[in-house]
Subunit: 478 residues, 2 copies
């Protein structure tokens, strides 16, 4: 037995106990298991669904260009994982945004012509136009927008990221995040809160009034409070929030409370009668922190954009009509597909899938830096809210692990013995595995402006990633 | 094969595959396992460590008296699990406490003569005497206390429960919890916050100044805020806190933040210049909610006290010298043992076990209603803080499951798929299994008043429970 060579003339003796390693379709392994064999199932799939052209693209991106792509991805990963943006001020969108023309409404998602706007985003834009004082009512606003007298542009093109069906005019208050290490700066809107709100697709008078209140009251008061408090280290709060059951996308309850607690002394010290109203708003808005997280995530992702040859995703945004991604290594180009429906949905009251608008909002930028779906395992509460189990939430995080190049050093998952959440979605892996990011998100009324009607999980369309790897391959091979 | 009878004359055929069920000492099972057998280990222990007198006591309490005890326990469990106390006001201890004489300091733990006070509790009482204006300094206070000119009494005897080495005079502010369903009312002190504080065993000027500040500033301001806000449903907040990583004893971060968020509008609206100072205190005190939880737990446990024949524990308190419990079925009698050391300890800086005072505080009342150690599995953060794992924290909760008669319907454990935390510690089971409640707690400096020097887990002394079951048996058999 000192050699493992066997005399080939010796008859083969089959072992009595068979143990099976089954690769790919589980049906064969299941059959062996039913016959009493020990089976280890290997989850192997045909790369890229067997599409030979894509297999060639991946072969080049992992082979000939592989080391270059990997090096670029390592740099992008570092930037995504190490940036520490701080929210430094609240200022009108016109000061916060980059290259913003007059009379422009910034909206969530990739670029889109007005005619293609979905109903919730259309309502939200009309509400913003009225709140700006450019129109007397939503009908008049519709006319101005339809005639192009008021332009629309993606917040993403002007340094911003806004959640759900947000549409913001130049006077709306913006949270500004600075990423000093990488020199980027990004903004998000101030969260509009629950109820009948424009970001939930309403242009009711109440929704418009809330926009005016944010501009006239919440913005200035929060600005003064944050100035008195000093810069807010967003990811330090997010990291604590993950220890307290937030996924930091669908649930930001803990981080919102931590932030409110931090701001408390400055708010109480503020000599401004409007502070009470803002206190009520803070006390009842468990998504207050969401927009801080988004501003910081955008400042982080922007710092990683433009790193040549990287196959990591640095933009992921939806406008309710289209879903788009951008890679670090392919410049400003969006790779677009139809916005997917929100699946695994739980609807409020009598609402059904027939009432549901497609996936919408810039918040999916959170999924790129280790939050949201990537951190699903942090939040038994979100799993319960979605009618699933913690084990399923762990599965969501583990699916991100397969798509991502690394794990966060700051966002730790308590239920997984504090291991880091997955960071850096690699389009190559997404295409190879045909497994796309899952995004925990709200669902809006598709037609009648009744706001949020449910919540669920949207799955990013595969074709965006397929287009993206083709473009990266052309760029590197061309 | 239609009958399972075997002809006894037939030779016995031993099976080739042996599966072993090993009961008791694991060493036999381990040996069988090493020889390749499948082993199921049953964790069986000799009841009551084989003490024949205690076995006879338990036999009566589970046999002859068993159904009576079980019925009483079911009633106690209902009261422990269903009470919904609300903190309704902040008022001086002299109004909140029952039957309080003049010039008395209330302290944590079972009754104790002044000469037996441990150093941290002694310092705390001296600080309280000075803060009351009864003495100019701690030395003078020591004289008054030693001569009995100022009396000491357990808070527990006057409707209160106070954490760690708390000692409160009549003017100190108290949080009053009302349990309307059962008609009980209990109080706790207002939490003194982190740092050099009397409840951490300090009588430094800073600690005394904090007591004065609580009386003159925090008490009145919090009283006005709670009056404006309305009654606080303590266990509703505690229940949410468990979903956010609190164990509600060592960690009350999430519940404190939820409470601060709720109180925010009333605090900001308050027209009182002292509010800013209180805001700073709230913003930096993550144990603010602990005392709310204790007041509510005491009102709950008191509602279950005096239920004849019950073997469930309704008081569990420590004063740093002794550890005491009371059963629902044995009236006001304490069953006392020496206060245990705090084990599994992590010390700050250069401190060691030589610097550590024994276990202290009334907070162990939380462990009786499904919080603290019973809810250890809710808090990966506490497990991490104590240098252990979530799996070990789950083990702590499961040990409570073995000692308790039921599971909470309101305190759910997210990491255990939302099952309820154990409620209702049965002294019979504790004695039978020789397994006592584990209490997550802080550790104080034993001699020099340097405050909290670490944290760890104290294990309730078995002899308290042994005395208690003997007394209950005498009572029922006599």
């Amino acid at each position: 037995m000192t050699s493992d060579r066997r005399d080939v003339s010796e008859p083969v003796q089959l072992p009595e106990d068979l143990a099976v390693v089954n690769i790919g379709l589980p049906v064969f392994g299941d059959a062996a298991q039913r016959q009493g064999a020990a089976v280890a199932q290997v989850d192997w799939r045909i790369p890229a669904g067997g599409d030979t052209e894509l297999v060639r693209v991946l072969t080049r991106l992992c082979g000939r260009h592989g080391s270059r792509v990997d090096r670029a991805n390592a740099e992008v990963f570092e930037r995504l994982d190490q940036a520490a943006p701080q929210v430094v001020e609240v200022t009108p969108v016109q000061s916060a945004a980059v290259d913003l023309d007059d009379r422009t409404i910034l909206h969530s998602g990739p670029p889109l012509a007005w005619e293609q706007f979905c109903d919730p985003l259309r309502r939200s834009a009309r509400a913003a136009v009225v709140a700006e004082g450019w129109a007397a009512d939503p009908d008049q606003a519709e006319g101005l927008l339809a005639r192009g007298e008021i332009r629309v542009a993606p917040a993403n093109h002007h340094g911003g990221a806004v959640p759900m069906a947000s549409a913001v005019g130049p006077s709306a208050p913006a949270l500004v995040a600075e990423n000093p290490e990488d020199g980027t700066r990004a903004f998000s809107a101030v969260n509009q809160g629950p109820g009948t709100r424009a970001w939930m697709g309403s242009d009711d008078p109440e929704a418009i009034e809330r926009l005016r209140w944010l501009t006239q009251v919440a913005g200035p008061v929060l600005g003064a409070v944050i100035e008195a408090h000093g810069p807010i280290n967003v990811f330090a709060l997010a990291s604590q929030g993950l220890q307290m059951g937030d996924d930091m996308h669908m649930r930001t309850q803990a981080a919102s409370n931590l932030l409110v607690r931090d701001l408390l002394p400055a708010l109480v010290a503020l000599d401004d009668p409007r502070a009470v109203d803002v206190a009520r708003y803070l006390s009842s808005n468990h998504l207050f922190f969401l927009n801080f997280a988004m501003a910081a995530a955008k400042a982080t992702a922007d710092a990683a954009a433009g790193i040549a040859a990287s196959s990591l995703v640095v933009s992921m945004a939806r406008n309710g009509t289209t879903f788009g991604i951008r890679l670090a290594g392919t410049g400003d180009r969006w790779f677009i597909a139809d916005a997917p429906p929100v699946g695994d949905a739980l609807y409020h009251g009598q609402f059904t899938a027939d009432d549901a608008a497609p996936d919408i909002g810039d918040s999916a930028v959170l999924e790129l830096i280790g939050l949201g779906g990537a951190a699903a395992a942090a939040s038994p509460a979100v799993a319960g809210f979605l009618g699933s189990t913690l084990a399923q939430a762990v599965g969501t995080t583990e699916a991100f692990d397969q798509m991502c190049v690394g794990r966060s050093r700051r966002f730790q998952l308590p239920y997984l013995e504090f291991r880091g959440s997955p960071v850096g979605v690699d389009a190559r892996r997404v295409v190879e595995l045909e497994q796309t990011p899952a995004i925990n998100t709200g669902i809006l009324d598709v037609h009648r402006g009744r706001g949020q009607i449910g919540a669920g999980v949207a799955r990013a369309p595969l074709s965006c990633f397929q287009q993206a790897v083709r473009a990266l391959d052309e760029h590197l091979s061309g």
